[in-house]
């Protein structure tokens, strides 16, 4: 169906873009052409340079060398506002709205910085109109902090449209959206594509690219491996282009998956949450009486649409968030509102979706960030820790110059790998994962999921796997809890659970 229209022309051309960061060459001479009226997918594993390339195109990074042409005219962007004036708009994985401004104010801010002024009354209607095109309704006067992840990304899309976008770059935005929402995003993309606009879809989900893209460009280690036309798209081939000949486990091979090792066996209880109530950062009730039991060596998946209390649940489990009511027992000991210390000391690991917020100090080095959770001796033995970091780096394939490199210069995927490395080791009794694979590529995600199963089976470690990706939850869990509006609305054994049933509960 979606072959390129004959009249399509090159709207943007980048040639020989080089971008280096300390110790890492993110882009080593990348050239790419974008046509009008196409959905162009950029695929690649973590640290392959997808986001860097997108940020160069969007004026967020300046390339070290190389040229950018828009409509055949050479340009040099000195800021995102420059790129926006050429109709290039970038939507990052983490929404970039200012939390304490309203939707309208957020959009006005961008309009103003680009020198496009509009009357406030008019803009409010425009926003409602654009949002409704996506099949949603969002109050233009709502503060951004009140919006869910999905709603924020819809506002970003509306913003792009109001700014008169010609090239829309979406960076991993769709990865975690529930299927229904994702479908409406795709419809919207096809719609604006038919208007002759260009969409750059950055993803590490091969299936997604194959489903919606007109062309796919695969990046590896900062180089273009190949650009494929629609008719050439084939998941296996793309996977080979992305990862080379490396193998990774397919889901069927997860330890314990086929053996049903746990069925019928009563598990000793490790976690007991009794009627937990907790507020979110803005003081609104986020958890409304969550009661859960998790056994030793059990993987409990928590499925739900973003913003339904998952973040708060994860924080309660590791002791980062106080509860207003209810009790939390870990291994028979009450740890309610006792902070992180008791819980961490009991051997609980935590892999959050934003490790630079939760786990690491970006201004400190890798080795310092590993030292902080290591043994509590008065003096730090840097040499043995550096050796440990080097081991993490080689085992988990982290691209970094030295253990003394600052964490903030690592790519998102590499930061996540470091978090996985450090926290898996700390998970002596339990691992709490919250959207842990959000910035991991397919191969590493698969390895990670497989490791989780191994942890549970072999080492009898409990895993609470909170994710907005229902696919992953279904693949990895022994039991599945569905969370909606801060309540557990369904609890299923993995055997015989229907995907539709879970999805219906998620959007309930």
């Amino acid at each position: 169906m979606s072959f390129l229209p004959n009249h399509s022309q090159i709207v943007l051309r980048v040639s020989n873009i080089v971008k280096k960061f300390p110790g890492v060459t993110a882009l080593g001479g990348v050239s790419l052409e974008l046509y009008s009226g196409e959905i162009h997918s950029l695929l690649g594993e973590n640290g392959s340079g997808k986001s860097t390339l997108a940020k160069v195109i969007a004026g967020i990074y300046s390339p070290d060398s190389g040229a950018i042409e828009v409509q055949g005219k050479p340009v040099r962007f000195t800021s995102p506002a420059d790129a926006i004036r050429y109709g290039i708009f970038y939507i990052p994985q983490a929404p970039s709205l200012i939390e304490n401004l309203t939707v309208t104010e957020n959009i006005l801010l961008v309009l103003k910085s680009c020198g496009l002024l509009t009357k406030v009354g008019r803009i409010r209607e425009t926003i409602e109109e654009e949002v409704s095109k996506l099949g949603y309704r969002i109050d233009p006067d709502a503060e951004a902090s009140r919006l869910s992840y999905t709603q924020k990304q819809i506002v970003e899309l509306a913003k792009a449209s109001i700014l008169g976008v010609k090239i829309l770059i979406v960076d991993e935005v769709t990865t975690y959206l529930p299927k229904v929402v994702r479908e409406s995003f795709y419809r919207y993309m096809r719609h604006i594509k038919d208007e002759g606009k260009t969409i750059v879809l950055i993803t590490h989900k091969i299936g997604e690219a194959v489903d919606v893209a007109d062309r796919v460009t695969v990046l590896r280690s900062g180089m273009v491996v190949r650009t494929l036309e629609r008719k050439e798209l084939n998941a296996d081939m793309i996977r080979r282009l992305m990862f080379g000949e490396r193998v990774f486990p397919s889901r069927k091979e997860y330890p314990g998956n086929s053996t049903s090792a746990n069925v019928g066996k009563e598990k000793m209880e490790l976690v007991r949450l009794d009627d937990i109530w907790a507020n979110d950062d803005t003081g609104n009730v986020a958890l409304r009486g969550v009661t859960l039991r998790v056994g030793r060596g059990e993987v409990l998946g928590v499925a739900g649409i973003s913003g339904n209390g998952q973040k708060e649940l994860a924080e309660v489990l590791v002791g980062l968030r106080d509860v207003k009511r209810g009790h939390y027992y870990l291994d028979g000991v009450e740890v309610t509102n006792r902070g992180t210390k008791a819980i961490r000391a009991a051997g609980v690991g935590f892999i959050p979706e934003a490790p630079l917020h939760y786990s690491f100090s970006g201004d400190l080095s890798l080795v310092e960030n590993v030292a902080i959770t290591s043994s509590n001796n008065f003096f730090i033995r840097w040499s043995s820790l550096a050796a440990k970091v080097r081991e993490f780096v080689s085992t988990y394939g982290i691209s970094v110059a030295s253990p003394k490199t600052l964490v903030k210069v690592l790519s998102g995927g590499n930061v996540m790998r470091l978090a996985v490395a450090r926290e898996l080791e700390l998970s002596k009794k339990m691992l709490v994962a919250y959207n842990a694979t959000r910035s991991l590529d397919e191969m590493f995600s698969e390895m990670f999921l497989s490791t989780i199963r191994t942890l549970a089976r072999r080492d009898n470690i409990t895993v609470v796997y909170i994710s907005e990706s229902l696919d992953e939850v279904l693949a990895v869990s022994d039991r599945i809890a569905v969370i909606s509006s801060g309540k557990i609305v369904g609890l299923f054994e993995r055997e015989g659970v229907e995907r539709d049933t879970v999805e219906k509960l998620m959007v309930m």
Binding site: S62, L320, T340, R344, S361, E368
Partner: protein, 376 residues
């Protein structure tokens, strides 16, 4: 239409010119040149006498030593606070508390009797006790804003500043009241502490004391080891850069906030008690009227100049100390040339202020390249 703009890019590589020692020294030279132009333009001092005076300041280094050691100690203390995002602008008050502690123990406590006996070992030990007690009072003084920050989320900066004035007033109250001296020729001040409680002058370096020199060396070395090689020091660094990560690693950020505040105040307090035992020997009245030398404030500049990096505190203290002394010398040179209404101390402020502005700009250039872009 011509458009002018700046392209600001974070430096990925540092070169010789952007290395920290060069940045600090370069700022000093550039700051002096600019100050020279300002002072020449306003007061007609020529470049030869300006740099001649500066040269003399450096050559006659003995005058620098006394401000240097105190700025180094207090600068280290404030830097420790900066590492943990505890912006200790209350060093002035903690310094005064250290002095109060020293005078209390040497003159108004049972311990004072030790200093009238002739027991060298006991006296030496008691001196250590006195110095540490001053440190503890400094820590206590700093813990008040520290606790308000940790448990009531009150920003520490205004509290710390106000605490300085409370300390001044407590000192003045004691000096004019219960601790008022009898042998003071009618002045309001305390009596002198016993001779045996005083620190030992280094022969040939009359502005230094053996004990103070040892303290500076110990404090800087211990502070460095603490920050770079201990778990506690690492926790302070996490507190300063990402307190959420500190919490999620299993520590209570409030406790570490208290610890940072206490440590910073403790080291400042040490400077206060050393100062009293080694130099002042008594408390004057109106102590807030410049009688502290404002070291507690000037040392904030030392911490700032050292890039929040403990390794550069000594060099920064040297720069600030020399500017300070240079300012005093300029005052003599400028006697009679000063515009009416301008105090002589203003010269020191011009020198320090200009150098720090230059330094602040250069510091940005250390981290970023800035290119001017002109589009026709």
């Amino acid at each position: 239409m011509v458009k002018v703009g700046f392209v600001v890019i974070r430096r990925t590589k540092q070169n010789v010119l952007t290395s920290t020692p060069i940045v600090i020294l370069g700022s000093l030279v550039l700051g002096l040149l600019i100050s020279c132009v300002i002072i020449w333009a306003t007061m007609g001092i020529d470049i030869v006498s300006f740099f001649g005076t500066f040269y003399q300041t450096i050559v006659s280094y003995t005058g620098l030593l006394e401000p240097l050691v105190f700025l180094a100690i207090i600068g280290t203390a404030i830097t420790i606070g900066f590492y943990g995002s505890f912006w200790n602008v209350g060093a002035e008050g903690q310094y005064v508390m250290g002095m109060l502690g020293a005078i209390f123990l040497t003159m108004f406590s049972p311990l004072s009797s030790v200093f009238t006996q002739d027991n060298a070992l006991l006296t030496a030990l008691s001196k250590v006790v006195v110095v540490v007690f001053g440190g503890l009072l400094g820590a206590a003084w700093s813990l008040i804003p520290g606790m308000l920050k940790a448990y009531a989320k009150v920003t520490e900066v205004p509290v710390l500043l106000l605490m300085n004035y409370i300390a001044y007033n407590i000192s003045d109250y004691l000096t004019a009241g219960p601790w008022k001296g009898r042998y003071t020729y009618g002045y309001i001040r305390t009596d002198l502490i016993p001779e045996s409680a005083r620190l030992t002058v280094i022969p040939g370096l009359e502005m230094l004391r053996y004990e103070v020199l040892a303290a500076v060396a110990l404090i800087i070395i211990i502070a460095y080891i603490f920050l770079e090689h201990t778990k506690l020091g690492l926790k302070v660094k996490f507190l300063g850069t990402n307190p959420v990560a500190l919490r999620s690693s299993g520590y209570d950020d409030r406790v570490i906030t208290l610890l940072t505040a206490a440590l910073s105040g403790f080291v400042v307090g040490l400077a206060g008690s050393l100062r009293l035992l080694g130099y002042d020997y008594r408390l004057p009245y109106n102590i807030g009227d410049g009688k502290t030398g404002f070291y507690g404030y000037t040392a904030i500049l030392v911490a700032w100049l050292s890039f929040r990096d403990i390794r550069y505190v000594l060099a920064s203290a040297l720069i600030v100390a020399s500017l300070n002394s240079f300012g005093y010398r300029m005052q003599m040179l400028l006697k009679g040339l000063l515009p009416p209404g301008l105090s002589a101390y203003a010269i020191s402020l011009v020198l320090i202020g200009v150098t720090l502005i230059v330094y602040t700009i250069v510091r940005v250039l250390k981290e970023y390249t800035v290119k001017l872009v002109i589009k026709a």
